[in-house]
């Protein structure tokens, strides 16, 4: 447990653009002198980053979660949130975040429709390369000064303000304080929707695939989980098989092995914030659990791991 290193807020923010603009100004001023000096500074960063090899598994896992669970939640956001839809408009551009370790994610806006391809092999015109996983986390956590090396087609940055606003919208919803959420049922529903149909299942899969503890905990526990919040459209599923994992929003593609239903949004909120006595909630009926209980137990242990890295 690395409680001292819990993320304080795993979300993108205007800070992203500030950080990016700083890097940009280093590399892309027209004067050749400034380019040279920019290159020098970049190379200093580069060296600093590489002198301390990024071998901290905590930082790597956290970077994975940032790029493959938090950032992709923008997709769900643009589907369900009117403000986000409006912000995206008919935007078309793609953007890749990539760390030297290979952890990457590519966001693709195609006439306003956002999709994510974590494993895209084609580098889009705009790519942010991070010399270490820690630098990715620095960006997301507003921690220290993130070292980001944009690629040369940086003029694409012109599209960034809209992306920045979108990120800010995501951050606003995900990081809304409980009191604010409780006072605004619509915001609460969007918040829970984003967590249960995107961020949490995606984070679960990253942990299940990449973290030894989670892999071991899930081994021998296969099955399809259906999650839902009663009387809301919030539904998602997680397919845990011995070879791989999948997830989706809505109804599971086949008959589930385990149903987990939250009685209401408040129960889901407390649960996602790790503020619920889940054992009592199941016995008390606020959470309904039916089916493969050992899978529920193992999955819950993995879900608990999310809070080691991210504060929801």
């Amino acid at each position: 447990m690395r409680a001292d290193r819990l993320a304080v807020g795993p979300y993108l923010s205007p800070y992203l653009l500030d950080a990016l603009s700083d890097s940009v100004s280093l590399e892309f001023q027209p004067s050749s002198k400034r380019v040279a000096s920019g290159a020098f500074i970049v190379s200093v960063f580069w060296k600093r980053a590489f002198m301390k090899p990024d071998t901290d598994p905590f930082e790597s896992m956290l970077a994975r979660l940032h790029l493959r669970a938090v950032l992709p939640t923008l997709v769900e956001l643009t589907k369900i949130d009117a403000t986000a839809k409006e912000l995206v408009g008919t935007l078309s551009f793609s953007l890749r975040f990539k760390s030297k370790s290979g952890i990457a994610t590519t966001l693709q806006f195609d006439k306003g429709a956002l999709s994510i391809d974590p494993d895209s092999l084609i580098a889009p015109p705009l790519q942010f390369f991070f010399p270490s996983d820690k630098q990715i986390n620095n960006l997301f956590l507003k921690r220290g000064f993130p070292i980001i090396l944009p690629n040369w087609r940086i003029w694409k940055l012109i599209k960034m303000p809209r992306f920045q606003k979108l990120s800010a919208r995501l951050e606003r919803i995900l990081k809304a304080a409980p009191d604010e959420l409780r006072a605004n049922p619509e915001l609460l529903e969007t918040h829970i929707h984003l967590l249960l149909t995107s961020l949490i299942p995606r984070a679960f899969i990253e942990l299940a695939r990449n973290e030894r503890y989670s892999k071991e905990t899930l081994s021998g526990n296969a099955g399809l989980i259906q999650l839902q919040v009663v009387d809301t459209p919030i539904q998602s599923w997680l397919d845990c098989q011995s070879t791989d994992f999948a997830y989706g929003s809505g109804q599971a593609p086949r008959s589930p092995d385990l149903f987990i239903s939250f009685q209401d949004l408040e129960t889901a909120l407390l649960s996602t914030r790790n503020e619920l006595d889940a054992l009592a909630a199941v016995s008390g009926g606020e959470i309904k659990l039916e089916g493969n209980i050992p899978l529920a137990d193992a999955a819950n242990a993995v879900l608990d791991r999310i809070s080691v890295y991210l504060t929801l």
Partner: protein, 419 residues
């Protein structure tokens, strides 16, 4: 209406829920551990019991159940067995928690040593976990080695080396605990090969009784592999007979299956519900055992020991073991016939006195959960995920009534899942 046109029973669990609501405010989880209702049927099962007698108990709402969990094992002669209660009461009158052990401790140790064929000495604790963990330490002390081999999915208690929960465990707790597959001799032999001369002990239950799965009796090749590893690598064999002890054979379950361990741990049924655990061992381990510190504030309590002496006496006198086997067989046959009549494929596993039922080829337990809920609703308390227990108090009439209840429950399973 229930499937056979009987009015659907609809027991209330309101008082249980009321108590639970109070409990959860002051007790984490409300009810934790094996009794946590989420494992049986949240909202559809009793949460609190108020009294019990023979093979029946009553919950906080006054619902009556024929019981197949027997306090999760300890109740071997039936609840509130008169003779055991009298023996306990007599001892309580003289004193329970004293500065010194009572004479009853010596009597009981002598009794156990004479009952268990390989035993030359005996120590006592309160819970099964006290004994399994201590036995591990004795093995490590005796062999001066670290490694413990145990079967995957076996339950040996709540200490960090073996607890099945996830919280509060650090890697180091399990650094020297390694698992093999039950009834898979090669898996054990391979594991033993890896840890060779660093193995302190193999710990097994007499047969495999994991939760959420069929019970499995040991096959001969597997038992031979354990003996082989013990001889080849000079390690000890610890028998965790906590769940099965005093239900299969009065001399210990190893006699039922025909093998001899080096240490054996007992608890549960030893004192018909009074808190007591024991570990017995062979002469060659006696000195090592004295080097592993063993105590607890209540471990010399005399009442549980008096209850144990009486429990063993009654089991022996009335041939209780045969009685449980007979009733367990009657139950198993009745359940199998009923399931077959409904065209349901079930597996009855475990020895008759500690039976378990699963629906064949079901990995998600929906049928088991529904079956259990239906039985509970109709007055037979069975668990969907944990083996059941018989006691000597179960009569033919109780068993037949249970089979009738199960018959309706099977029909309901059939209607819900297969029609």
């Amino acid at each position: 209406m229930s499937p056979n046109n009987q009015p659907e029973p609809n027991p209330s669990f309101a008082r249980s829920m009321e108590l639970f609501e109070r409990a959860r405010r002051v007790i984490p989880g409300g009810i934790y551990g094996h009794a946590n209702p989420s494992l049986v049927g949240p909202g559809n099962s009793p949460y609190y019991a108020t009294k019990a007698s023979g093979c029946r108990y009553w919950d906080a709402d006054g619902n009556e159940f024929i019981d197949y969990m027997c306090g999760y094992g300890p109740i071997v002669l039936g609840y509130q067995n008169r003779e055991v209660e009298e023996a306990a009461e007599k001892q309580r009158h003289d004193g329970d928690c004293l500065n010194h052990p009572g004479p009853v401790m010596v009597d009981l140790a002598e009794r156990l040593v004479s009952l268990v064929d390989f035993a030359d000495w005996c120590v006592f604790g309160k819970n099964g976990s006290d004994m399994t963990t201590w036995a591990l330490q004795v093995a490590r002390q005796h062999t001066q080695r670290k490694k413990i081999l145990m079967a995957e999915g076996a339950y040996h208690g709540i200490d960090p080396w073996c607890v099945p929960g996830h919280g509060g465990i650090i890697e180091e707790d399990r650094a020297h605990i390694h698992t093999f597959k039950w009834n898979d001799p090669q898996s054990l032999l391979d594991l033993a090969q890896i840890h060779a001369d660093d193995i302190a002990a193999i710990i097994t239950t007499p047969y495999h009784h994991p939760a959420f799965a069929d019970s499995e009796l040991p096959n001969n090749d597997f038992l031979a592999a354990i003996k082989d590893v013990r001889e080849r690598h000079g390690c000890l064999w610890i028998l965790d007979d906590i769940r099965a002890g005093f239900r299969l054979h009065l001399g210990g379950s190893h006699c039922y299956f025909g093998f001899t361990p080096d240490l054996a741990c007992y608890s549960k049924a030893i004192a018909n519900g009074y808190p007591l655990a024991a570990c017995v061992g062979s002469e060659n381990l006696k000195i090592s055992s004295t080097k592993v510190f063993l105590t607890g504030s209540f471990w010399n309590g005399t009442v549980a020991m008096a209850a144990a002496l009486k429990t063993i006496e009654i089991l022996e006198r009335d041939d209780g073991i045969s009685r449980m086997e007979e009733m367990g067989t009657r139950l198993r046959n009745g359940l199998s016939q009923s399931a077959e009549r409904h065209g349901l494929s079930i597996t009855c596993s475990g020895p008759p006195a500690i039976p378990f039922l699963t629906f064949s080829n079901e990995s998600n337990f929906f049928r088991s959960q529904h079956f259990s809920t239906e039985c509970i609703k109709r007055g037979a308390f069975i668990h969907p995920h944990h083996n059941w227990f018989l006691s000597t108090a179960h009569t033919e009439a109780d068993i037949d009534q249970t089979i009738a209840i199960a018959d309706t429950a099977f029909e309901s399973v059939k209607t819900r899942f297969e029609d």
